[in-house]
Point group: C2
């Protein structure tokens, strides 16, 4: 008779306290994005499989949760490998590109946009990696000016600050810089993706190991040249100046402007080994790090080629994504998360007084409190227990004496102290005690 | 090269203005639910197919978007009809029941909970009926007291009020009342579901037509008895008192308490023909209606049997759901929706003054404005055009003269009027003009 109550592997339920912290974080990020003039949009969780595959390519196809065809279409496909027609989105940027091309005639130009919601990946679930997780994306479409990078990064950094996390370390790099390094080292075109994958491992593996692999891939001279320009340049950007002066000047402007706005010069850094994914980025890329948490908590970059896949016409774009799951890890470690229960529980003394209790709760809610009314008919003692278990600070009692005299009895559930308040001024009194 | 940009049939993109209105509504409903002491939880969008099918039964199986198995599991299933292992949730209550049984040892008792998010149904898409849509559920689990019904209905009505829609008409009925009417009319058990389906059509079809069908189903005498007790009782509940005194007394208490709290006696009504779905409700059911919008905008009821499907142990529960799509229809018709763009655009006079503009925007954001900084490098005229197209009320200009004197030039984009403000007091001046 009974059914399993565990969600599928890699999927999570959220208990009230966790959900309250998530909702608070989502709300804060939205508020900050909105304060920068980004407009929220909504895109579908489900996309045509062709849209998802067109972007993902064969290697990413395994990431996609595919949705079975229905009815007659399914019957006609039985025995073929075309059993699915739809799929769950595995990121938000792809849906944004589709959305932009579809709606561009009615959208402002450039288009400042944010989009938040769940995405799904059919990866093997493991600690810290889920199959359903949230992204908080912010993008600017239609401009190739580096002002976009500043705006996107500034909004994201401000979101971390709003959540009490302070300013992250912001690492920036540029795809054209990496290309110039490969040009200077004469790395053949067909080896560049692999070389980038190797460089991407620099923050996970020892430098020697990465360089040995690089030597095996491109030969000792090219590896030495890459090493000098990328690894050593972390501390000395001058080594890059001769080969990519323009890209370097652009990154310098972005870094200087951001350091000026936030007044934290040492938090904004050029990182020539930063790769940040491998497929659609075409210009500056960036990543955010906080001490004590390995890996990044968000990042992004310029992707001037993606939208053209839908429109056939290239449209410049740049954007970033805050990963909610990493963000929540940070917030938990800062104990910035807070509870989700009511602040006040109004008890029900007797059935004939329930309406009085309901009215009293309504007044307290209008004053801004989260208020619970005991739903059943149990002795006051049990109602106090319930209020305490829900994490309320106060219980309010409205017995016949109080009701007759326009008073309420308030019980501080921590100290056990009880006292009478005028019903009209109870909200003010509770607020001053909570503060 | 170019790909389709239309979302799948029945799925929708939301433009910024629509999304802003949706986000505002979702936020308002959450705020009200929370103010009643309901705690938000998060459940997974994807459930094991067994969980979804266990509840839905064969007739609802077609509603489910099923997710294809992956890798080896898929290969082993080729040619069978067990190609899927997961599915998208088609409602939130089922996930809540699973969640409650899984986590009940750490949840308060009774559990006051809300859950909002998208659900998916593989129905044929048609005007006003979508395949991806949002529900805003609120529930109380673990108590069979009618105080739960009051609390749930009061929270939902307050949400409509918070959104500026006023108090809806609230219709209530009780499954035990319907059962008593069928008992009194001696309707055989096997015909009761069909009889309920017929009665459910009373608000769509003419009464005569429904009664003719009822006569064909249960015979003239039973049909007459049902008619007297259900149709005629809408105006005269006394006709029901003799056969279901307890159910009627309970509904009367719920209606009186709610009418008292909201001070609108004529909005809370007994509706003996209200059926409200057919499967899991066991006690009181309720529905909300607004003039000018056919059908309901939300509703719910008591479902004391559902949770037992997971735990094997019956747990009383009652809850309701506000359908976001219907809610948005109402809000649009009230023109209560509002835009999502920035209020102020700060222009960039020249590259060397960009940092000044960024700082000015930061000050305005801290004062609570939504502020855009022009991202590119275009003449001021174009920047004003952009600001206007984004719906901003003001543009701010920081030229070399203004920067040197600590002033900003403000342009009212509607009137075209321009004037100087001290940079420090600009926020206050803009606020008083917006008000």
């Amino acid at each position: 008779m009974s059914m399993s109550t565990t969600p599928p592997s890699g999927f999570r339920d959220f208990l009230p306290q966790t959900q309250a912290a998530r909702a608070k974080a989502i709300e804060a990020v939205s508020r900050v994005y909105r304060s920068f003039g980004f407009s929220e949009i909504g895109t579908t969780c489900v996309e045509e499989l062709g849209v998802l595959l067109g972007k993902a390519g064969a290697e990413n196809e395994k990431l996609i949760f595919k949705i079975l065809k229905r009815g007659e279409k399914l019957e006609l496909s039985q025995g073929t490998d075309e059993l699915a027609d739809l799929g769950l989105r595995f990121e938000l940027t792809l849906s944004l590109a589709r959305y932009y091309v579809r709606h561009q005639s009615v959208l402002p130009h450039p288009f400042k946009v944010f989009n938040m919601g769940p995405v799904w990946r059919a990866e093997r679930a493991q600690k810290g990696r889920y199959r359903e997780f949230w992204q908080c994306d912010v993008d600017m479409i239609g401009s190739d000016h580096w002002g976009c990078e500043i705006e996107v990064i500034q909004a994201m950094v401000s979101a971390y600050q709003e959540l009490g996390l302070g300013c992250p370390t912001v690492l920036v790099n540029d795809r054209t810089l990496i290309a110039a390094v490969f040009d200077a080292a004469a790395v053949p075109a067909e080896k560049r993706v692999e070389a980038m994958i190797l460089l991407d491992k620099l923050d996970k593996l020892p430098e020697d190991r990465v360089l040995a692999d690089m030597t095996a891939l491109v030969g000792p001279e090219a590896a030495k040249s890459i090493r000098e320009r990328i690894v050593s340049a972390e501390g000395d950007p001058e080594r890059l100046k001769s080969i990519a002066p323009q890209a370097l000047a652009k990154l310098d402007r972005i870094l200087k402007a951001l350091a000026g706005v936030f007044g934290e010069r040492d938090k904004f850094k050029l990182a020539p080994s930063l790769m940040r994914g491998l497929d659609y980025y075409t210009g500056p890329v960036f990543e955010f790090k906080f001490p004590g948490l390995a890996g990044s908590v968000g990042g992004g970059g310029r992707y001037d080629g993606l939208i053209g896949k839908f429109s056939g016409r290239s449209v410049p774009a740049c954007g970033g994504s805050i990963g909610l799951e990493r963000l929540m890890l940070l917030l938990e470690s800062k104990q910035a998360a807070s509870a989700g229960g009511p602040q006040v529980c109004v008890t029900v003394f007797a059935e004939e007084l329930r309406e009085r209790s309901l009215k009293c709760a309504t007044v307290l809610r209008k004053a801004g409190f989260s208020v619970d009314v005991y739903p059943g008919a149990r002795p006051l003692r049990d109602q106090f227990k319930y209020a305490d278990a829900r994490g309320a600070a106060f219980a309010v009692v409205l017995g016949p004496d109080e009701a007759a005299s326009g008073k309420v009895k308030v019980k501080d559930l921590k100290s056990g102290q009880e006292w009478l308040e005028d019903e009209g001024s109870a909200a003010r009194a509770l607020r001053s005690r909570l503060a």
